[in-house]
Amino acid sequence: MTADHEVDARLTPEALAAESRHLAKCWGEERGILAWFSTVDHKRLGLRFIVTAFVWFAFAGVLAALMRLQLARPNNDVLGPDLYNQVFTTHGTAMMFLFAVPVVLGFGVYFVPLMVGARTIAFGRLLAFSYWLFLFAGIFLYGMFLLNIGPDRGWFSYVPLAGPEYGVGHRPDVWAQLVTFTETSALGVAICLITTIFKLRAPGMSLNRMPLFVWTELVTSFMIVFAMPSVFMASATLVLDRLVGTQFYNHAEGGDALLWQHLFWFFAHPEVYVIFLPATGIISTVLPTFARRPVFGYLAIVLAVISTGFIGFGVWVHHMFATGLPQFSISFFTTASLMIVVPTGVQVFCWIATLWSGRVSFPAAMLFVLGWFQVFIIGGLTGVMLASVPLDLQLHDTFFVVAHLHYVLIGGTLFPLLGGIYYWFPKMTGRLLDERLGKTSFWILIAGFNMTFFPQHILGVMGMTRRMYTYPPELDWGPLNMLSSAGAVLIALSLALFLFNVVTSLRRGAAAGDNPWGASTLEWATTSPPADYNFLPWPTVSGRDPLWERFPEQPVVAGLSHEKREVLVTHVMDAEPDHRKEFPGPSLWPFLAAVAVSGLFIGSILTPWAVVVGSLPTTIALIAWFWPRSGKPPDELSREIEESDKAGKEAA
């Protein structure tokens, strides 16, 4: 520690410049193909998650456009039943597994380490492995679709329709393995995020000073840890039934079709909160920035997010109200499904209070976030209607549910996501997106979205069920379907404008600087884009909105090595410095292991022996991944151990 009037020798401009050169060399990555496959940098990988997810989103959007084309008129013949069934299944499966979850995790991967003031993410190689699995998953699913082996049993793949007797061929196996790919990937990322959030925060960032976006990523990651195993069990038992003749879902031998529904929905309901909560985290980030004040009700929002996470595990049977389960157990789920509205309501009220007492401006990012209010709240309210068992019996499995789910998913997640992109694009690229294009695309999107999906509420009440490849003219569903399909054109236009904005701004966008919005969280305390080592000097915090709280006077961390990749590990509760850990550098093994594992997953569609055979390269790749690169011989180790023992005792 230095006296007040002296500048620490390590913090002079010359020292910092030299340090930055060392750090750049230590944390930097080489260019070239091999480096591209070996990266463990959370910013590169986070960006890859986001971009790849949007590519899968675009393909799934094309599938949606095909559906709207087919449904625009009664008895239409654009798509026959077989292709239509593949299209709606692949659309739903891709949107849920290949877009929604990976994209919210991708934002977490990029921004959580920055927001908590860490040098990088924990378990970078696990993160890389998870990314490669995710990439292969999308190539696999869309590849199978193009080969006419796309899954066609609905994104929730009910049995016995997807079972060995009625799901002939390999299509349901493709679905099951797509799930295995993506859920393994998500679990990997969840572990990285939880560990980073708990152990790598900058000194001073106690849990109650963490940005709300980080809280939502934490809760989401926990939800993934406890929910994904259920879908793993479901898809694994389905594959077992189909591949080796187990009888989990065959009622003739003691199995039960409803077991599938319980296992699937126990996962899938928390899954939608996994998708939704980080989006509320984005709102809690963007909205206060453009209201020029810290968010109102930080503690209430944290409690709301956590309680949503818990209650989200207690509502899954509301997807099964029509199955004939006993009344008394079903009422519990109605109650829980209604109660989950309260924490979300609290978040809404806190945001309105923030706006009420702030000074509001309306850049494009803010417009998208405000769009959430118009769209998601309708979805939430139709959810209340669906939570009522008797009413649900009329509305279940109709276009009313299709409308509801798109209002909560697109309104609840896509709108804040787009707002997050307008907000964070400058940080990731150093350039601003064009504001006028952004605002135009916002208005087109909100008009097009409502035009597409609002009529579907009415169609559902009028008796139009889901998953129909066509409908007869005498039911009078034609006009509203035509309106809905016309709205889809506007959605496509808006997204095309967004893409155009991204592509042109990458080249010609205005320079952003470190903090174009005057925001308060740590990611804005470094360059745009951030250096490979994230921060210099390394910040500490003493409040929730560090950049609004006399940031230049905050102490900084010094003393970490710049010869090796050293990261400061801190305590869980109050982020006091604990020890220094050397993190591994780039490695090709995560990629190779992902290839081996993918071979195992895909092979097991064809034969159970693939699991045995595939285990060998997988095991080899994982061992090679772990095996340390040659370094010091064992006897130098004992000296090191002694020294570190001594240092540890002195520090204690």
């Binding site: 009037h5 152990k199 003749g245 230049p552 900084v556 003393g559 604990d578």
Partner: protein, 199 residues
């Protein structure tokens, strides 16, 4: 610029227990796999509740091999405990010794597991009961195998090097994982071997 610097250069370069990030990775893995075990057990109970006769035909698994293996697994916790203690104090010779002893138990319980499968008295494709019992046992076996492979790799590394202090943390974490695999076996044993014998 009157900025203070907080100097961390004196901090140790490794830590044990929940202070280490490896612990959190391991804890995450245990949470995931523990949830899977719980779900499998719940599925067992669910299917049992829907069956008039359980097991169908009333052929419960033979108790012998499963009980022997449980004893072997529990016994393996002793060398496992000493392995962890040695790793925690960075004792290279002690870790080498006790991990090797633990491995002997591990190879034993993997071999006995093969006999367990043979003594279940049902095939996985006979009925839903057979399916869930084989899946429960199979899933736990996957954990035994992972434990064996992990521990073998660490044992080899301990003898060949190159070693770092953090590898002792890894061995310590592996011991935690071993505890998890053995302790989670107990309810699974109860479900597979004892539940069919309840009235």
């Amino acid at each position: 610029m009157k900025r203070r610097a907080i100097d961390v250069s004196h901090l140790p370069t490794h830590a044990f227990g929940h202070r280490s990030i490896m612990w959190w990775g391991g804890a995450g893995l245990m949470a995931i796999e523990g949830t899977m075990f719980v779900l499998l057990i719940v599925a067992y109970i669910y299917l049992k509740g829907r069956s008039p006769e359980w097991p169908p035909g009333h052929f419960a698994p033979v108790l012998f091999w499963g009980t022997v293996n449980t004893a072997v697994m529990l016994a393996s916790l002793v060398p496992n405990h000493f392995t962890k203690a040695a790793a925690d104090r960075l004792d290279l010779q002690g870790t080498r010794l006790w991990l090797s002893v633990s491995l002997l138990f591990a190879y034993a319980f993997v071999v006995i597991r093969i006999f367990e499968f043979g003594s279940l008295n049902v095939w996985w494709d006979s009925n839903a009961y057979g399916s869930i019992v084989w899946t429960l046992l199979g899933f736990h076996t996957a954990h035994l195998l992972t434990d064996v492979i992990d521990s073998t790799v660490f044992a080899v590394l301990l003898f060949t090097g190159p070693l770092k202090k953090s590898h002792f943390v890894d061995v310590s974490e592996n011991s935690y994982y071993w505890y998890f695999v053995v302790l989670f076996w107990l309810p699974v044993y109860g479900v597979i071997y004892l539940a069919p014998r309840l009235a």
